[in-house]
């Protein structure tokens, strides 16, 4: 026990002296949260629309006005016909082209159906779909305000209540996800690099000749990063609160409890990686690769239910999936232990399995 304390003391001195690790621990969460959360948005904020009005009636001009007044659109002047307008999309100066045909106003008043043409830059299909949606919405809204009879009979009306995030703020959804990334980087990445570094520099050998048993060495290596990772989580949460006003709806101790167990898995993985790599470069790439795959499948950007069956099967052994889920559910919805029991059990089993395997493997390699 005493020996473990000595190891811990040494690790902490080294971490605090390390000019790389410290900035990472503090700067990383700030940068990630600020940039990612602000960049990540699915709304279309500024659609550059090139409007061609062949009709030039009072109705068509009202329609043009509707777009002009909308804060989501900026109208791009078009000099010339439809071809010129499409060229604007080619050049990237416009996102969409809307063509109002001749006799638009006449037909509308008479009640004859009329077509408008909308051309969209569909490279980014999400953006295109959203743009199409918005634009159609504005057009429909406009036309129904004109005619006396309602233009469609929609027999049902939906009233929607969005719980937990009534403003539909995408950032709130992303922030817990980023916290998962932060904690995993510290818990898995840094640990793996740290251990391999000692291997590379030879200091591990010096410890191997001492009476330090392998388990003591492992504990001495993992505990500091466990603590630092939990600290990272708190730091990240504080920043999230300051910048996004994110409040944890659920129980904070429960969150940390889960994180603590999750970290055992992450640390274990870091240890396994360090025994599989002979130098820092290798371990960095291996860790990076695994993290990316796990991360993408964990539901960071898209919900896991929409993934193919095999991906969902895989996620049962993906620790990031559980942490992502629990993080979001606890922070945004206030899920408690009863709701999250399955995830707790799964992650605990994983922790036992991964750590045992890691320790056995480390023992074998150093024997």
């Amino acid at each position: 026990m005493k020996k473990i304390l000595i190891l811990l003391q040494k690790e902490f001195i080294q971490v605090f002296r390390n000019k790389t690790i410290l900035p990472i621990i503090f700067v990383l969460p700030i940068v990630q949260l600020l940039i990612l959360a602000n960049a990540a948005t699915q709304e279309m904020k500024n659609i550059k629309l090139a409007l061609i009005d062949f009709d030039n009636s009072s109705e068509s001009r009202s329609l043009v006005n509707a777009f002009d007044h909308s804060k989501f659109y900026s109208l791009i002047p078009v000099r010339g016909g439809v071809e010129k307008a499409v060229e604007l999309i080619d050049l990237g100066e416009a996102d969409a082209v809307l063509v109002i045909p001749e006799h638009f106003g006449e037909n509308l008043v008479e009640g004859t159906p009329v077509n408008v043409q909308l051309m969209l830059n569909a490279i980014n299909i999400t953006a295109a779909a959203l743009t199409q949606g918005y634009t159609s919405g504005i057009i429909q809204g406009y036309t129904s305000s004109i005619s006396i009879q309602s233009s469609n009979i929609i027999p049902t009306k939906q009233s929607v209540r969005h719980w937990y995030n009534p403003d539909l703020n995408y950032k709130l959804y992303m922030v817990p996800g980023i916290l998962v990334i932060l904690v995993t980087i510290v818990g898995m990445f840094l640990t793996a690099i740290n251990i391999v570094r000692e291997k590379e520099l030879g200091t591990i050998e010096q410890v191997n000749v001492t009476p330090i048993k392998p388990y003591q060495f492992i504990v001495g290596k993992l505990v500091p990063f466990w603590i630092i990772a939990l600290f990272e989580l708190s730091f990240g949460l504080i920043i999230a609160k300051l910048v996004f006003n994110l409040t944890i709806v659920g129980s904070t101790p429960l969150l940390f409890g889960f994180a603590a167990i999750y970290l055992l898995v992450a640390l274990g993985l870091g240890l396994i990686l360090s025994t599989s790599a002979s130098n820092q470069q290798q371990v960095m790439f291996m860790a990076f690769f695994f993290m990316i795959v796990f991360l993408m499948l964990s539901g960071l950007f898209t919900p896991t239910e929409s993934m193919p069956k095999w991906a969902q099967w895989f996620n049962t052994i993906n620790p990031l999936y559980y942490f992502m889920k629990v993080n979001r559910m606890l922070i945004l919805k206030g899920s408690d232990f009863g709701n999250l029991r399955e995830s707790f059990i799964s992650i605990s089993l994983m922790a036992i399995a991964v750590l045992s395997f890691a320790i056995l493997r480390y023992n074998k390699k150093s024997a």
Binding site: K2, K3, I6, L7, Q9, K10, I13, Q14, R17, N18, L201, G202, T203, E205, Q206, V207, N208, V209, T210, P211, I212, K213, A367
Partner: protein
């Protein structure tokens, strides 16, 4: 019956089909300075690593400080000191911190640890730089510190793997004076080196050639036996013979 601090019998180490250490047998008594000499690749480092428990032998007997290497590795580790080629100290810790760390590892605690650390600082004249980071110190000084650290728990045996590599002749001389001092106090010292002149400083020398014993005995006696003036010449003639044989 602990007559010999180290006993090695028919020690063999194979890496695949390559035989790095081929049937070594020797003993080392208390307070002896035992030199493992030979060219790079002759098997010195492999041998010393087996004695320290860093590598497991393919076959053969090893006993260190009275403990059997196969069944009592823990006890061996608690009773040896080790200094490696790279002087593996933590470069981002100070000298003092390194001493205290390794002292703690070997079970020294509290006042006893502090006392022993101060002793070492005194003995090795490290007052001026005990609070300086190891990475800022020149190689020669690091070597001295590594030696001090290997002695922190007063082990009966210390293993020094190429301790004077890359160190200037003056520092080397001083180093060997220290070694002699230590051995005169009863510590057994096993040294590997490829500087043949350093063999003169050892009580017993084992010259390894291609993993086998090329010559084993007191330097003075060996020189007489082989009719050479220096250990260097002895080594060269052995090496030449070894080459012609293979």
């Amino acid at each position: 019956m602990m007559k010999n601090v180290i006993e090695v019998e028919n020690l063999v180490k194979k890496f695949g089909s390559f035989v790095a250490v081929n049937n070594l047998t020797f003993t080392v008594g208390k307070g002896e300075i035992f030199g493992l000499l030979g060219a790079n690749g002759a098997g010195k480092t492999t041998t010393i690593r087996m004695l320290c428990g860093l590598l497991s032998p393919t076959s053969g007997k090893i006993s260190v400080a009275g403990y059997d290497a196969y069944t009592q590795p823990e006890q061996i580790r608690a009773n040896i000191g080790y200094m490696s080629q790279k002087f593996s100290l933590y470069s981002d810790l100070t000298v003092w911190e390194n001493i205290r760390f390794f002292g703690g590892i070997y079970g020294l605690w509290g006042k006893a640890l502090k006392g022993r650390a101060l002793e070492l600082v005194e003995e090795f004249k490290m007052h001026d730089f005990k609070d300086i980071m190891v990475e800022s110190l020149p190689v020669g000084w690091r070597q001295r510190i590594s030696l001090a650290v290997s002695l922190v728990h007063k082990p009966p045996v210390i293993f020094l793997d190429e301790p004077t590599s890359g160190v200037d002749p003056v520092a080397r001389r001083m180093f060997w004076e220290t070694i002699h001092h230590i051995s005169s106090l009863g510590t057994t010292v096993i040294v590997t080196t490829h500087y043949m002149d350093e063999a003169e400083y050892c009580h017993t020398a084992l010259v390894m050639v291609d993993g086998k014993i090329g010559a084993l005995g007191k330097p003075g006696e060996l020189k007489q036996k082989y009719v050479v003036e220096t250990m260097n010449e002895l080594f060269l003639s052995l090496a030449r013979n070894g080459n012609t044989k293979s």
